[in-house]
Symmetry: C2
Subunit: 240 residues, 2 copies
């Protein structure tokens, strides 16, 4: 049986079930493991001596939280992350995750509607971690991300996207052509339908799905190697 690609609705159901009374996970736990998987994906593909400066782009929702966790772990791994988070999430959790990054002395581009600071950060970065939009994204792309996404593309920097490339329809992919074209994709829990069209190096993370849930949703997940939090689904395994 082959790996299942999830609709937006199925992805939402799995997320809800993991955090339900039955699933018993807290969002803190899941976000910690998801963010660690993001950081491990960057570390797997981009050598920290050649690509030390990671611009971590965080959206206003849960995926932005994954990004903040990833930024912290990247700092601990010896990278030099910088955070772009123009619309900080209001929840207490984001503020705590942001504080944890502050405590690591990870700089954040000051929130602004101006694009200059983002352009400057891109000019002094080696790789972009795209944690802007997740599987609950619905078009249109709102400001300031409508202007930011083209800047990320124009920068020609390598991009690692989390779960679904930002701007893509979760099920139809980049049909509208307004999304990013990342080099690397990290699907979380299971890949989304839109990711079928992704051509780059594709990893899976979210090593927290119990067997019972995997069977219920017929995910047919591949085995993860050793104690890694990620597994590569396709592509070459070259480190850049």
């Amino acid at each position: 049986m082959s790996l299942r690609y999830l609709s937006a609705k199925a992805a939402q159901q799995i997320d809800e079930e993991l955090m339900s009374t039955a699933g018993a996970f807290s969002i803190d736990q899941l976000m910690e493991l998801a963010g660690l998987a993001c950081a491990q994906t960057v570390a797997r593909v981009f050598d920290k001596d050649k690509y030390p400066r990671v611009l971590v782009c965080c959206g206003p929702g849960n995926q932005g939280g994954d990004g903040l966790v990833a930024a912290r772990h990247l700092g601990l791994f010896g990278y030099r992350p910088i955070i772009y988070m123009p619309k900080p999430g209001a929840k207490d959790l984001y503020q705590r995750l942001k504080k944890q990054c502050d405590n690591m002395e990870i700089p954040t581009i000051p929130p602004s509607t101006e694009l200059g600071p983002l352009e400057d950060a891109l000019a002094s970065s080696d790789v972009v971690l795209d944690a802007i939009f997740g599987f609950s994204f619905k078009p249109p792309i709102r400001a300031p991300f409508d202007s930011a996404l083209p800047l990320l593309t124009e920068s020609k920097l390598p991009i690692v996207s989390v779960d679904i490339p930002s701007g893509w329809d979760v099920e139809k992919g980049n049909a509208e052509g307004v999304g990013l074209n990342p080099d690397v994709l990290l699907s979380l829990t299971a890949p989304k339908e839109g990711a079928r069209l992704f051509q780059g190096r594709h990893f899976l993370g979210g090593r927290f799905v119990p067997k019972t849930l995997e069977q219920k949703f017929e995910l047919h997940l591949p085995p993860y190697p050793g104690s890694d939090q990620i597994v590569e689904l396709s592509g070459s395994s070259q480190k850049l």
Copy 2:
């Protein structure tokens, strides 16, 4: 500067600071990373094909929570953990962590004052993960652990202890001779003074200490390799 070995008081202060408003970590986050480090330590030393059956012994406090997280990750890594938790913690967090193990179909020895079920479990285990007492342990060892610790020792199974071997004084080590004699020790955040006397393979975990906190407490932590959650402090690096 050499690695600092912590007094019980300093360990407590660091823990409090990590979870304070300033440190901003939730216990869910720290426990997830600590438990993952425990599971990675078992996986580093004990091959899952030769040592698949891990008896995870959990105390009633926070270290028992680390053990539950470790049991879940060991299950995900392909080991066959069994949980011994005769005094389940009352906090909602433990109940959720236990439920997550139940969802992974990880068996738990039914709570009992009888030792028979523990003896049976030891007879069909390959390795013991000792997450019974942590740095806040104060003697004497209370029932049923006063009877359980000698059984673990008599089993002759290899033991991996978390933070400080159970029964050891956090600062004076196993001076009383009533504690376990583990083969492997995973110190969390920084080693405790009592661990100076430990002779086996010694790992450090808890890769979440921000540089500012490390400096404030003059921990002089060693660098962790790659994206690992553990680093070996001494001993041979042979996998059993």
